[in-house]
Each structure stands twice: as structure tokens, then as C-alpha cells.
Subunit: 202 residues, 2 copies
DNA sequence: GTCTATATGGCGATAGAC
DNA sequence: GTCTATCGCCATATAGAC
């Protein structure tokens, strides 16, 4: 259930976010969204014409928030290892607390490519600026990278995948909840070195 | 549509695999599975009592195939960099051609934890043996790793995530289909060095 | 704007003939 | 074993009162 004092439209968006993130488009029920928002099912259609529209709205804001955070950190003017520390520290914790978000985004793209791809990034300059930024920053530190894109994707992979795959990993490797938590805390500490080692020429 | 000459039960499993992999449990329709198998909807219930059972059957074999391949390669008695090359070369190609499989597995675990977690790995010794194997092999090469688990997860992350996220990456970074292919081919070549650099003590 | 009641369609599952 | 026909339910969406 969401807070009472917001305007109805906001409450619906909040509720839709909760339900869609957990269940995805197919799994989500308009009834559950209405219940979570503390209103009636018919009101959903009053504010958002149908389920698709509501989903698209939720998807858009979630996607933009997630992508923009990474872009922001890696565009700052600090040593690369520090960027890594800040990003991984926040990102791993954030994803652990919101572990449905990556799957929500990935599934959204596969299930409804047409509408969603349109809205994803209008402005291609932002990622390219960030790439240039990574490259220049590393040059100042005496590190030459062949492809800042590959590097950025490597960082995202190492950050996102282990959180998404948590239920599999814990099962396959027989780890308890505490062991998994220790596993993530260890990653926050070791990954920056791991990555810096990887890109420093021997 | 699947081949005609197999027994019906096999055809159903084949068809179910196709549909479930692409659409997931909620998105899949028994009608579509029947059509793909070239048979009638009622026959599905004759061979597999309900949708859940059929899904569980598909999930089990897919999961075991995927997990076991990695375990196998990393248990061989060859230099670690060679293991990486073989694994990444096959894995990245395989995932690109079957890009729904990782999401199918991840979603399956989140959507139906109870039944699926049971079947995932009865034998916890296999992963532990593989870990020991990785550690011992690296020691022979003069490399000391603190945690073979972290290393293994890093390899999986770098391999799996970029393929799953392909539609996002191509959109966010404005890459064409050919550019994406080049991107993956480059990864196969550079990742083994990237990883070996990362774990060699400076 | 918000509600109740209902239309409409689709889906999983079953009955029963062959 | 395989089919056609159908039941019963549930989910999205709409009509219409307040």
C-alpha cells in the first residue's frame, strides 16, 4: 500500500512500479495495482488508458534513473579507481535492495521492443561524452584503453549480473543468506582492484 | 514447427522449450505450444498433467545443460587462460544464438522458486570440486587467487550479461547489428587477457 | 473523480467420441 | 493416443450512476 496524501495519479504510478517491477508485464494484475494504490480498478483506466500505457510510463522513468546514475558517476573528474569504488559500492547495494529492477528492464525490452526502444535514449550524445571522459581520464593516469565501451560494459557486467543471479548462485554453490551478503561485500572491495589490474598494461 | 518423425512426447518437449524460452511461463500459451508441436492442445494435458509440470520439465533440462557446460570446461586439466578462451568462445556464441535462455532461467527462478530451487542442484559436490580444480590449476601457474568463487562469477558475468543486455546496449550506445557482432567477437579475444591480467599479482 | 456492475475475450483444463 | 467441443474462470476494459 502506498502513501495516502499524494494525488491519485502519483499513487497509481507508485503502485504500478511496485507491481510491475516484481511481476513483469504478463505477471502483473491491474487488480493488484489498484489494491496497492488503494483505489478502484476502473480508475486506472481513467488516468492511463490501458495496461500497456501504464507499463510504458513506469518503464521509462525506471530506465532513465538507472542508466543516468552510471553515466553521472563515470563522468566525474576523479581518479578512475575512485569512480569504480563509488559506483560499485552504491550499485551493488542498490541492486541488492531492488533486485527486480534489472530483470524488469531486460524483460521489458525483450517483451515489448517496439514501443520501448523508441523511448530509451533520444540523446546519444550522453553515452558518447561519458566514453570520451573515461578515455581521457585514464590517459591522464597513464593507462591506455583500446575500447572504453568494452571497459564500461565489463564494469556493468561485474556489477549487475551477480545480483540478478543471486538465487541461482546461492543454490548452485550452497551459500546461506549471510554468506551471500559477505560475498557481495567482498565484491565491493575487490572489484576495483580487479578491474584496475585488468586494464593496466603489464 | 518441430520435426514430424519424433514421438509425440519429444515433439511436445521440443515445442515447449521453444515457446517457454521466448515467452517465459506467464507469456507462453498452451495453444502456441500445441501448434508448434503440430498437435492438439488436449494432448499436452495427456502427456503432462498441466502447464506447471511441462514448464518444470523444460526448465530442468535447460538449466542442467547450461550449468554443466561451464563446470566441465573449468574442470579440465589445461592452462587457465586456455580454459577461458574455450569457454568464452563457445559461451558467447551460444548465448548470442539462444539469447532467451539466460533470461528464461533467471525469470524461472524468481517466478517459481519453490519447485525449481528443489531441482537445481542436488549434488553440491560438483561445483565445489570445480572450485578446487580452478584453485589448484592456478597455483601450478604461480597465481594465487583469494576466492575461486569470485573469479568464477566474474567470468560468468563478463560472458553472460553483455549478451542478455544486447538490445539495451545497442540502443544506448547507438550500435548497428554489425557493430554489435564485432563487439562480441572482440570480447572473445580480449576477455581472456583482461581476466588473466586482473588475477596476476602486480 | 470515483465508484459498482458488467461486457468481452482468452486461457487452462476436462469430457467424451473415435 | 488423438481429436472436437465445451466448461469455468479470470483479466482487461467499459458503461453508467453518483
Amino acid at each position: 500500500m502506498v502513501k495516502k496524501d499524494q494525488p491519485t495519479k502519483e499513487r497509481i504510478l507508485e503502485a504500478a512500479k511496485e507491481v510491475f517491477h516484481r511481476k513483469g508485464f504478463d505477471g502483473a494484475r491491474m487488480q493488484e495495482i489498484a489494491d496497492t494504490a488503494g483505489i478502484n480498478k476502473a480508475l486506472l483506466h481513467y488516468y492511463f488508458c490501458d495496461k500497456e500505457t501504464l507499463f510504458a510510463e513506469v518503464f521509462k522513468t525506471t530506465f532513465e534513473n538507472v542508466v543516468m546514475f552510471g553515466m553521472d558517476v563515470f563522468s566525474r573528474n576523479i581518479p578512475f579507481e575512485e569512480k569504480l569504488s563509488i559506483f560499485l559500492d552504491f550499485h551493488i547495494s542498490f541492486l541488492r535492495d531492488n533486485s527486480f529492477i534489472p530483470l524488469f528492464i531486460l524483460n521489458g525490452i525483450y517483451e515489448r521492443p517496439d514501443q520501448l526502444r523508441e523511448m530509451m535514449i533520444k540523446n546519444l550524445e550522453i553515452p558518447h561524452l561519458m566514453m570520451g571522459n573515461i578515455m581521457k581520464g585514464l590517459q591522464k593516469e597513464g593507462i591506455e584503453v583500446d575500447s572504453p565501451l568494452q571497459l564500461y560494459i565489463n564494469v556493468l557486467s561485474l556489477s549487475i549480473f551477480p545480483v540478478v543471479a543471486k538465487p541461482i548462485l546461492s543454490r548452485v554453490f550452497g551459500l546461506s543468506e549471510e554468506q551471500m551478503n559477505a560475498f557481495y561485500e567482498e565484491r565491493k572491495k575487490t572489484l576495483p582492484h580487479f578491474i584496475m589490474n585488468a586494464i593496466r598494461k603489464p
